[in-house]
């Protein structure tokens, strides 16, 4: 199952990559592979922008506008004018 095409904000800078493979390890959708001791993006549209690769890249080679892909959270954010929130971390409400 794949979501919309050409919407992902993932940016990878190969020059900064040292091929440690953390991005391959943490990505839940197989977006990265390591070839010739460098990572490359092979399945960009499968990226769900969770931010795991960016957070675990010690070389700052990955950038993504990470966030929750959750309509309820984004609508809540629009209503309150604050960040997207679906009350997951509060005491009440449903979790996304």
């Amino acid at each position: 199952m794949k979501y919309l095409c050409n919407v992902v904000t993932l940016e990878f800078t190969p020059e900064k990559c040292n091929g440690c493979g953390r991005c391959v390890e943490v990505c839940p959708h197989g977006v990265f592979v390591i070839t010739d001791k460098k990572a490359s993006v092979v399945d960009r549209d499968s990226c769900m922008e969770c931010g795991a690769c960016m957070n675990n890249c010690a070389f700052d080679a990955v950038k993504v506008n990470a966030g929750v892909g959750c309509a309820a959270a984004l609508i809540n954010g629009m209503i309150t004018g604050g960040p997207p929130s679906c009350d997951c971390s509060g005491d009440t409400g449903a979790c996304c």
Partner: protein, 382 residues
Amino acid sequence: MEKLKLTVIQKRGPEAVEPCSCGPSCAPEQGGAAPEWITGTLSTPAGSVPTISPELSSSDLWEHVKCRTSSFRTRYTVAPGLYAVGNPVADSDVFVSANYKLSFDALRSSLAGLDAWLLVLDTKGINVWCAAGKGTFGTDELIRRITQTCLEKVVSHKRIIVPQLGAPGVSAHVVRQKTGFRVHYGPVRAKDIPAYCAGGYKATREMRTVKFPLMDRLVLTPMEINPAMEKFPLYALIVLLVFGLQPAGVIFRDAFYGGLSFIILGLIAVLAGAFVTPLLLPFVPFRSFALKGWLMGMLATFLPLQYAGLVGQPDTLLRIAAYAFFPMLSSYIALQFTGSTTFTGMSGVKKELKIALPVYAVFGGISLLLILAYKLQQWRMI
């Protein structure tokens, strides 16, 4: 905590438990009586650690059902801290989890037959992946728990196994800098842990990939249906009022016979969006959830109108209103499921909302105008 210590020590007999040397929070603080899954305590150089059963009891399983169907899950927590499963020693593995008991149970039940330490982070009762997205399952909390539980005294190595889905909140290199512990990302699913350990702590591509099979989608549907159904009585009341409202007042007979079809159509539209769309997700055409839901809602409106005679043929205005409103309702509800899937990203959902919300507003307005026109026609005012 005192109560807990007393209870568990009594279970195992007198035992010299060293006081924790690094503050009061080495052992998890359980409010009230010790839970049944705590079987005793294990003495470590950093104080006593509760030992837990890797087996799920029937009450655990019943609680899991309640988690999947109600707001019970918002208070289904375990005390953060260090636990022991089996009979771990200084060289045993450390597995990290969230303090949502469903996550905790998934982990402990996968560790049957293994001797291991469990480090439970305070994620405010939220599962690993959601909490990682919000940062509560994160670098800071992991560092804090490692320090608070004096993990470096409990184990003689520097490996911690963090669930892969915790990675959006954790920066492995920062944890290593601050604590010396090297983060190994374990498999996505806890049940793959024995195979992961047996395979030399290497996760296969299969273990690293998140899927979204039928059963995973099915167990999420009650919590899609419930929130929608909470608003249903209000919808039903409005429908009955609109249909029952006559120049002479609210006529019960008109309310019932006129409103019933709209109440039934509403119910079917909710199920189309909250149950059928998630269940048939990969088979419904389009990638957009709004379109998937709209299509299922269209079918769910067309079939009853066409074949069950829910709205009589003469009521053209009502039929058009139904086609404008109910598929839109299913679409909106299906769009909410983006929050439960394993593959929808923020940019995609934002794009959908940007297009869908104005369309919903227009279709909602059209439906209202059509219903108004129907009422005016009924009252012979136009």
